[in-house]
């Protein structure tokens, strides 16, 4: 039976299972070691282009390490075993994203990725990571799922889709596989919180306050990324607007 034909409980049991994840990733990761076709050649990049790509990938690693630590911390907070199993699949996805970006950095000649990531990380993104992990450490499921599976995933989805549209073919393939995962994670966050908010509309105000706290950190991260890449005002894509539009779907007005 197709997932959309199932009642809500069976639908959740199906889409939050290892089996569902297994079938989903088989489709787009089969025969793609480290997220891309092995035969795609390394693109010719000048020093400036290479340096900009390294900075961007380092910041992706910050985001993915944050997502890995947050999603693994969320497993113990999950309210039921279906959510726990879904989050376990997300833990593996986030670890894979970190791995493919680190692998791409290695292909670009970075030998000490950890040091390079520390050196190039945007302060706004680090502040976001710290806030996210504080929600997880405090055991605040709603705020942590919102920050991780709605805000962070929306930010990444916006950035990765834009980057994939202008990236070299190798980086593009890696990003497309990551985006496919992110959409699943975003779906979980919106579905879980959407159902909770329908049952407890009083939680809207609290999550709107969380959003009001996180939005500036996300927008600051975008600005810092543009500056690191040396993009002039007229050349900057409208990622902030796209992000705000994406995160708006839950109707939480900051």
């Amino acid at each position: 039976m197709e997932p959309h034909e199932l009642d809500q409980d069976d639908f959740i049991a199906q889409v939050q299972s290892f089996e569902f994840w297994f079938e989903a990733v088989e489709g787009y990761l089969g025969d793609k070691p480290y997220g891309r076709d092995a035969e795609v050649p390394e693109p010719p990049l000048d020093d400036l282009e290479r340096d900009a790509l390294v900075t961007t990938l380092c910041n992706y690693c910050v985001g993915e390490a944050a997502a890995l630590e947050a999603s693994s911390g969320l497993v113990r907070l999950a309210p039921n075993h279906h959510a726990q199993i879904f989050l376990a699949t997300q833990v593996a996805d986030e670890a894979r994203h970190l791995e493919v970006f680190l692998h791409r950095l290695a292909e670009l000649g970075i030998t000490d990725a950890r040091a390079e990531v520390e050196r190039r990380a945007n302060p706004g993104l680090l502040a976001f990571k710290e806030r996210l992990l504080r929600f997880v450490d405090a055991g605040d499921w709603e705020a942590a799922v919102f920050a991780q599976n709605v805000v962070l995933e929306s930010m990444e989805d916006t950035v990765f889709r834009f980057h994939a549209s202008v990236a070299d073919p190798k980086t593009q393939q890696v990003l497309e596989g990551v985006v496919a995962d992110e959409r699943r994670h975003l779906g979980f966050g919106e579905n879980d919180l959407g159902r909770r908010l329908a049952r407890h509309p009083e939680d809207r105000e609290r999550l709107a306050a969380v959003r009001a706290e996180l939005d500036p950190l996300v927008l600051r991260s975008f600005e810092e990324a543009y500056e690191a890449l040396g993009l002039g005002r007229d050349d900057r894509p409208s990622l902030g607007r796209d992000y705000l539009h994406s995160v708006e779907r839950l109707g939480l007005t900051a």
Binding site: S17, V75, I85, A92, A95
Partner: protein, 295 residues
């Protein structure tokens, strides 16, 4: 260390596990494999199978909580990535053993009450000792408790269950084969990664050895309870096998599976697990602690 850890990457895991031995399986077994009708029709055997499977679910839930909890405590990216694969492996094990409970006739609405009713209290204590270390963010103790003690126990229990199921219940044996392959990888990581960390932190030895002794005690108490209650179901299982001309694999670590008593089975399982502990702990530079014998 980097070379060894590259064997535990996500990419390697994808190639070995989902694209390897799990390919073309559903809930860890062949799509056409089912629980034997004779088992489902025999109330003693069905209930005993539910009771055993509940212990597997409880153990795997503990392993899922522990491995996900250890990701943040891991000191390097490769260890975090390996633990991410282990988190997903453990979630898969929770899922396939839970599915087996449904296959054995447990209703979805009765799942949690069934698990609560059958989970052995000593297994709960075993899990609590480990999860306390994880909650404290103690990576070295957590990995020894999880990847050497818990996984070492699970590995041996699964091997015994597989040996007794391979003829009588090929579906369950197939499910177990995949989990055994996973556990082997987890134990390998524990041995390889923790040895160097123990050498760097010799001051942690005594505390970790104490934890192992405590976990081993609760494990032996669980075995004693489970085998103490299994006489009737073992007899029923053998009668069923005889009626269908099925001979279980002749021996397992010297025990005659077709004729050994519950006490003999408990003894051989306990001995095998404890011997494994000694060898594996020795490899990482820890001294095995003999647990007290449960009353």
């Amino acid at each position: 260390m980097t070379d060894f850890l590259s064997q535990y990457s996500i990419q390697r895991w994808l190639e070995m596990c989902p694209q390897g031995y799990l390919e073309d399986t559903v809930y860890g077994h062949g799509p056409d494999q089912h629980e034997p009708e004779e088992l489902l029709d025999n109330e003693v055997l069905r209930e005993a199978s539910i009771a055993v499977t509940v212990q597997l679910v409880a153990g795997e839930r503990c392993a899922l909580a522990a491995s996900s909890g250890l990701v943040n405590a891991a000191p390097d990216y490769p260890s975090k990535r390996f633990l991410a694969t282990q988190t997903l492996d453990e979630a898969r094990h929770v899922e396939i053993f839970t599915q087996r409970l449904f296959d054995l006739g447990v209703k979805k609405d009765d799942l949690e009450s069934t698990i609560q009713a059958y989970t052995n209290p000593n297994l709960v204590k075993f899990a609590e000792v480990l999860l306390e270390k994880v909650a404290d963010g103690d990576f070295v103790a957590g990995v020894v408790g999880q990847n050497i003690v818990l996984e070492g126990m699970a590995f041996t229990v699964f091997e015994l269950l597989q040996a007794t199921s391979v003829e009588a219940n090929p579906k369950f044996a197939h499910t177990l084969a995949g989990t055994i392959a996973d556990e082997r990888r987890h134990v390998g990581f524990g041995e390889n990664r923790i040895g160097s960390l123990i050498r760097q932190h010799p001051e942690k030895r005594a505390e970790i050895e104490r934890m192992q002794g405590e976990m081993s005690y609760h494990m032996l108490a669980t075995f004693a309870d489970v085998f103490g209650a299994s006489g009737e179901s073992m007899d029923e299982g053998r009668k069923m096998a005889e009626a269908h001309g099925v001979e279980p694999e002749a021996t397992w670590h010297g025990a005659d599976l077709a004729h050994a008593s519950a006490e003999e089975m408990e003894a051989v399982l306990s001995d095998t697990v404890l011997k494994e502990f000694k060898v594996r702990l020795g490899r990482i530079g820890l001294e095995y602690q003999s647990p007290k014998v449960p009353a």
